[in-house]
Amino acid sequence: MIDRGAARDVAERAARESYGKLLAYLARRCGGLEPAEDALADAFTAALERWPVAGIPRVPEAWLLVTAKRRILDRQRREERAGRFHDRLAAAARDAERHFEEPAELGDDRLALMFACANPAIAIDVRAPLILQAILGLDAARIASAFLVAPAAMSQRLVRAKRKIAQARVPLDIPGPDEFAERLDAVLAAIYATFAEGWGDPEGSDGRTRGLAAEAIWLARALAASCPDEPEATGLLALMLYADARREARRDLAGDFVPLDEQDATRWNSAAIDEAEALLVRAAAHRRAGRFQLEAAIQSAHVARRFGGTPDWRAIVALYDELYRITGSPVVALNRVAALGRLHGPVAALDALALLEGDARLRDYQPYWAARADLLARAGRRAEALDAYARAAGLTVDPAVRRYFGTRMEAIRALDA
């Protein structure tokens, strides 16, 4: 009899590291996503009952896989749909042990499952949640919290998406060369959406979803290792590492928000930045620029400050121009305006910002009001700056960022007093 807690630890570690691999393997070979999920959940339950009594198996993943497969088999028997299914299961059982030698990359199964989750048939806002559930085994409640959706609604959306995968016969395969690049974009976008939820808005940080950024980096790392010839996969990983490297520096010791320009560069994670720089160089060698490489390059220009340099604002504006050409995103246009403010001053930037004023997509977008407030304050238009800061404060979810806007407003009022 071994310690129940130890068995639970091993099961949890196996779940953390191998859930997606096991699920992908079962889903592709044994009849689809939902039966695989049910069987795997049963196998984990069985492990928690069995391991404390019988001891932890030598290869826990293989034990879980064989157990899950038996569950599927039982169910198939009950449903009287035996036959060639058994042959497939027998074949799967034979390579079970061999399969769990833990490759560094995703392996075909998980990669294929990711492509299925980000299939065009799946609603765009469910793709990232689906990947988190299928590959990392996160439960619906945690995913719901991260994406600010009611847990019941998130469960329902995930169930519906899985039905769609089954009913629409969304292939659990890696797309062929014709489709690969386009479909990879959807996978990358879903991973980045996960990171963005974990990161909060680009200026803020939020403890609630902090773990999600790490999950996104894990996914991107695994994906980049699986697709070494796809510079955008490498670019995405670089981008997220640059941003994550500054995580600690976004708060001072009192827990107050510190904007990028004022961050203590010695508090940036230089190992992560070094890795990001190396990844970006490797991606650029393919000479196929894309959205994520450009965003990573902008991040690279920002971190020049760590060796006492200043960001090259001309280069940053040029990178945003190129990024805007590719994406047409109003958020990119907004960031370009902010960079322009550093290059040519607040008055020129406010002229550029005026072109974005009517865009409904920016109306309730906190960083828009924060950028606008900053430019107005620097241009000496204090009353308008106060209004814009108040609007930004009313739109943020982050109490530290809300306090920061309050401090800025007090500073402006002090000038008028």
Partner: protein
């Protein structure tokens, strides 16, 4: 679709703040309220009087009334205010709830309103 955001927080925490902190907290709520208005989703809202001013009324099955001093439930965090917002769905309601200052110093409960149709006369 209308939703009510019910703001639960510890009243004592408000009382214990310095004048400067109180000014800031009021400013944060004012900013949030104006963001709701500017977004065109504001449908009402107020702060409630202190819990000490609450009185509870109940009529038993025997028809006897009872009137008691104090709130319906004694809890650490009390209903202290509400917002009514008009947004397309629960996702949007939750996004606004998260922006409410109370979400970080207390708890915000979000409930859809069931709109009553007046009975035919």
């Amino acid at each position: 679709m209308k939703y009510m955001l019910m703001l639960f927080f510890d009243e004592a925490g408000w009382g214990a703040m310095s004048e400067e902190e109180t000014t800031r907290a009021i400013g944060a709520y004012a900013a949030y309220t104006s963001a709701l208005r500017e977004a065109g989703v504001y449908a009402g809202g107020d702060r409630l009087g202190p819990v000490a001013s609450a009185t509870t009324v109940k009529v038993g099955s025997d028809g006897k009334t009872s009137v008691l001093d104090g709130p319906y439930a004694e809890t650490k965090e009390q209903l202290g205010g509400y917002y009514l917002i008009d947004v397309p769905d629960m996702d949007a309601a939750l996004a606004w709830a998260a922006r409410c200052p109370c979400a970080s110093h207390g708890t915000v409960e979000v409930r859809p309103l069931m709109v009553m149709v007046p009975a035919p006369v």
